[in-house]
Amino acid sequence: MNEKPEKLIDKKGLRLDGRKPDELRPVKIEVGILSNADGSAYIEQGKNKILAAAFGPREMHPKHLVLPDRMVLRCRYHMAPFSVQERKSPAPSRREVELSKVIREALEPSVFVEYYPRTGVDVFIEVLQADGGTRCASITAASLALADAGIPMRDLVVACAAGKVDDTVVLDLFDTEDKVGCADVPVAFMPNLNAVTLLQMDGILTPEEFEKAVNMAIKGCQKIYALQKEALKTKYMLIGQEEEVEE
């Protein structure tokens, strides 16, 4: 696994894992799987396995962080020590601190924070297994956890990355592509509002390639958005069925 592959795209134009350039990894989403959280979601995107939970609106601690006119959204992105090849120390790394911040800022535009003054909502994200694109999958799951907690939102936030490997712009990079490839552009999006709430990039892209990557990422977002809504509906349809049986 540590050997760097020479080519990331074969002669047929397929990627190391057999995907076409604009193909997503298989995505599986479940909503409402943690009984203690007010809302929760689990996502598998390729080998990524991520849990997200939302708590609140609830009393804010410490008290001096309370805001008189709105609720405070807090977010923690954290990777399990066993989630990557070499053990990751459980103490928050600088990367995790930055990601917690950008994920919070990706989710916040979707939430009506002014509806719950003087309260706090906490979103906890645990990456159980990481294989590239964890910040995007985390946002997709965290937004569902917020929705599952019944927090009023303008839209779901969905995220997906695009990037460049060899000379091709590709969708949804996995770990090796991310590390060996030329560039990675994670995008978070609210489809109903045409709003990009997270945009990052590293690597080198020409303006044309960048535009293509953003377009591709947004298309990927729209595909995952459909799965997100499906997952949310599935949970509540199950509840509906259970109630009918009880009656």
Binding site: E98, V185, A195, T197, L199, M201, I204, F210, V214
Partner: protein, 263 residues
């Protein structure tokens, strides 16, 4: 800061933006005056101070020897750290780096790293064992907005000013010799931050504008005009169109600054 006064100011800023004007008289796409001074800290291997309007950032670099990362045995190491020292703003507090200073350091780091500004292969002394480690320490001295662009400029200016010690390897030991050579540089990334306020894009937001704007977009542009790092920040959003507009604006501004700085 008194919120009553600020509210009035904020409304004023918003009203002006509607008319494509700014409180300090700049146009929406204008930078504040930029002053760069290099080599003012003699004990550092390199240093630079950037004044962006009243925002003031000092960057010092140190070059030491250390071990390379296992996945890049032939390359030197770059470490960027930012300190929002309490004397720079009433809102900065002493203590370990918070998320703002970590984000700032990582944005500057990405701009330098991804544009391959430093020729890290030339920093290798003994593959897999010994390389030069370049520490870039960002010291914010006065916060008047747009710390990202000021810090990124100061970091590159300090790297351009950085001297590497001459050395020779004797019996597997690194012996430092007399004299210095300049740090090998390949690119000069320029980071441009764009703020979004009332659905308009502005360049180089200063402190009070930062409090009204709902989001920012920082783009690092390399010598060829390509994009090498991006970071969106703030609790608002950009539309798809605004991102492409922002990209064009950032490229224009980077080219303009590059000409002025002769990088």
């Amino acid at each position: 800061m008194s919120s009553l006064v600020t509210r009035v100011r904020l409304q004023q800023i918003e009203k002006l933006i509607e008319k494509a004007k700014r409180l300090d008289g700049r146009g929406l796409g204008d930078y504040r005056e930029i002053k760069i001074e290099q080599g003012l800290i003699e004990k550092a291997e390199g240093s630079a101070r950037v004044l962006l309007g009243k925002t003031e950032v000092l960057v010092g670099t140190k070059v030491e020897t250390g071990a390379p990362f296992p996945d890049t045995p032939n390359e030197g190491v770059l470490t960027v750290n930012a300190e929002l020292v309490p004397l720079a703003s009433p809102t900065f507090e002493p203590g370990p780096p918070d998320e703002n200073s970590i984000e700032l350091a990582r944005i500057v780091d990405r701009g330098i790293r991804e544009s391959k500004a430093i020729d890290t292969e030339k920093l290798c002394i003994e593959p897999g064992k010994k390389v030069f480690v370049v520490f870039v320490d960002i010291y914010v001295l006065n916060h008047d907005g747009n710390l990202i662009d000021a810090s990124a400029l100061a970091a590159v200016a300090a790297l351009l000013n950085t001297k590497m010690p001459n050395y020779e390897v004797k019996d597997g030991e690194v012996v430092i010799k007399q004299g210095y050579t300049p740090l090998p540089m390949k690119s000069h990334p320029i980071t441009v931050t764009i703020g979004k306020m009332n659905n308009r894009l502005i360049v180089d937001p200063w402190l009070e504008e930062e409090q009204v704007m709902d989001s920012r977009l920082s783009m690092a542009i390399n010598d060829e005009g390509n994009i090498c790092a991006i970071q969106k920040g703030g609790t608002g959003y950009f539309t798809h169109k605004q991102i492409l507009e922002g990209m064009k604006l950032a490229q224009e501004k980077a080219a303009e600054l590059r000409k002025k700085l002769d990088w």
